[in-house]
């Protein structure tokens, strides 16, 4: 269980995130939405432990995130980056296997290999395993990074369930894979993982998330279940688009008429 209490993040003099409080519960899929520059990626970075908030606290299991050792933290949470270029190309299988680095000592080789195989299957990159990472398209690379992050989740052992942080996991993907990725995220949540995803597509957030937090100018302007947050009023005020819910799906109709 991760709890953010009134956290603030500053870059230079600018406040990027300003007083956001949030609970991330295991077994739930939380979507972070907001227009460009709202502080979504920075908020996710604070949850990943990449940066220290200027104010407020991020607690994981009632312990401040910065009191966790990097290795212990890596065993509890995985991060899928927005885009990752590698310095030197590796075969896809080896890239995914890097996700097991935190468990090289704690798990057997066999367990680690099994986790890699499961992650490859889950992210639907089985046909790419022998390809060189460099030769993949942007969307394929993204799915490989997803597989790497999934491989880092320790689901087999009893105890506290891990967290998965996804930074725009659907950015470069075709429609079918966008849905596949969010189905996978839902599925992982069902197994007890706390999943946090930055999503630009409000329709996807509406359909798949258990909980949505909407950011604007670094502040959380609304949070709760998707139908409570993604209302026509919020769409108009925060995203400057018209939208309505049709038979359980959110339909964005286009920009506001001037």
């Amino acid at each position: 269980m991760m709890r953010l209490t009134a956290i603030a993040v500053e870059r230079g003099r600018r406040r990027i995130v300003d007083g956001v409080s949030l609970d991330v519960a295991p077994g739930r899929l939380l979507a972070i939405v907001g227009p460009n520059g709202a502080g979504k990626t920075t908020l996710l970075a604070a949850m990943a432990g990449d940066l220290r908030p200027a104010g407020g606290t991020v607690m994981l299991d009632d312990r401040d995130l910065h009191r966790w050792s990097p290795l212990d933290l890596a065993r509890r949470r995985a991060v899928m980056p927005q885009a990752a270029r590698m310095g030197f190309s590796l075969p896809v299988r080896d890239v995914v296997a890097l996700g097991r680095s935190p468990f090289e000592r704690s798990h057997t080789r066999c367990e680690n290999a099994a986790a890699v195989a499961r992650a490859i299957h889950a992210a639907d990159v089985g046909h790419l395993v022998n390809r060189s990472y460099e030769t993949l398209s942007g969307g394929e690379q993204q799915r490989v990074q997803l597989a790497r992050a999934v491989a880092q989740l320790d689901l087999e052992r009893a105890g506290a369930k891990p967290m998965l942080l996804l930074d725009e996991p659907t950015a470069n993907l075709d429609l079918a894979h966008q849905h596949a990725v969010l189905l996978l995220a839902r599925n992982l949540a069902k197994q007890g993982v706390a999943v946090v995803a930055i999503l630009h597509d409000l329709g996807l957030a509406f359909t798949y998330a258990d909980q949505v937090v909407a950011l604007q100018g670094g502040r959380a302007v609304a949070q709760g279940a998707p139908p409570e947050v993604l209302t026509p009023t919020l769409l108009r005020d925060v995203f400057q688009v018209d939208g309505l819910v049709v038979s359980g799906h959110l339909v964005v109709q286009g920009p506001l008429a001037a």
């Binding site: 990449d50 590698m86 310095g87 030197f88 590796l90 890097l98 680095s101």
Partner: protein, 349 residues
């Protein structure tokens, strides 16, 4: 090129043990050639007998034990150190063109060593110089790598352009420093410095081998520990941190090991360029980019390459000797150009 790629493909499909065996066999063959070939040609049997202390001819034993064995070992250690250092910096900076000589680290070590050649006799008690030189060179390379990596790091990413430009600046500065030292030196020191800036393993002695060995072997022992972290760094610094690595600590220790290897190598043999560029690249081509394979094989490959280059250096214009740095530059220069040509787009972007 395609032939090379196919050959490389076949090599990668060999089991790991066979590949290791092949690499070690090549190294042993290079050592045997280096011990046998020279002004006094010896047969392999002569070499083996001399090594086991059963030489029929005392002169042969002297040639092996006093001249060729220390020289071969020194060339091997220097080559292993430079190639290992190259592979480590390339992993650290996530870039295939980070060679110790290109980014100014060798030159930094060279200035300190040149200063010790000129002033060492005055400043140090007699007998300390052979041991002070690797230490001084280590300090010099450590300073340069610290400066260069600080300049090239922008918002947690290394800019290759900045890395190379900083290297150019430091190389120029170091060259000026060495020039000044040449100006201040007497005739004998000047010859030492000049010959030494071109790179040579000609002055090999057992003392130098003993002074050099820990500088190379220590980083080599740490290599398996670095390998996992460098693999993770390949994804990016933030990603490596997400995988549980203490990135800053890894970088500091890697720079330390790197400076030790380069400093040690430069202090005994001068500036030998491109070994750190060529060898890791070839190893990556044949064995893949994973550091648990790359680091040890780069060391073996570097040793092999430099021992062979030294055999060429001392036979091609016999009885005179070419500086070995010239030979590696003749191999490495075109190689570097070819590498740039293949990656032009990337660098232009």
């Amino acid at each position: 090129m395609s032939d090379l790629a196919i050959g490389a493909g076949r090599l990668t499909s060999l089991p790991r043990g066979a590949r290791t065996g092949l690499a070690i066999l090549l190294l042993l063959a290079a050592m045997a050639a280096s011990l046998a070939i020279g002004a006094v040609p010896l047969s392999l049997r002569d070499v083996l007998q001399a090594l086991m202390g059963q030489a029929e001819d005392a002169r042969q034993a002297a040639v092996i034990w006093q001249l060729r064995l220390p020289r071969t070992l020194m060339a091997g250690l220097v080559g292993a150190g430079l190639a290992l250092a190259g592979a480590m910096t390339q992993g650290l900076f996530r870039n295939p063109i980070a060679d110790p000589s290109l980014i100014g680290v060798s030159a930094g070590a060279a200035v300190v060593t040149a200063a010790l050649i000129v002033f060492g006799a005055i400043l140090l008690p007699p007998g300390w110089l052979p041991y002070a030189m690797p230490l001084g060179a280590f300090a010099g390379s450590l300073a340069v790598i610290a400066i260069v990596s600080r300049i090239a790091m922008v918002e947690a990413r290394t800019s290759v352009a900045l890395l190379l430009l900083a290297g150019i600046a430091i190389n120029a500065l170091a060259m000026a420093g060495t020039g000044l030292l040449v100006y201040l030196s007497d005739d004998r020191q000047m010859r030492d410095i000049t010959f030494w800036t071109l790179g040579s393993v000609g002055g090999a002695t057992w003392v130098k081998v003993w002074a050099l060995a820990p500088c190379i072997i220590l980083p080599l022992i740490c290599a398996p520990w670095f390998a996992r972290a460098l693999d993770a760094l390949n994804l990016g610094e933030r990603e490596a941190a997400h995988l549980g690595f203490r990135v800053e600590r890894v970088k500091r220790l890697a720079c330390f090991a790197f400076a030790l290897a380069v400093g040690g190598a430069v202090s005994v043999s001068g500036i030998i360029g491109f070994v750190g560029l060529v060898v890791p690249h070839l190893v990556r081509l044949t064995f893949g980019a994973r550091h648990c394979v790359l680091l040890p094989f780069s060391a073996i490959g570097g040793a092999t390459l430099l021992i062979l280059a030294d055999v060429v250096a001392r036979t091609i214009v016999a009885p005179a000797e070419l500086p070995i740095g010239l030979i590696t530059a003749f191999i490495g220069g075109p190689f570097f150009l070819a590498l740039l040509l293949r990656r032009r787009r990337e660098f232009a972007a």
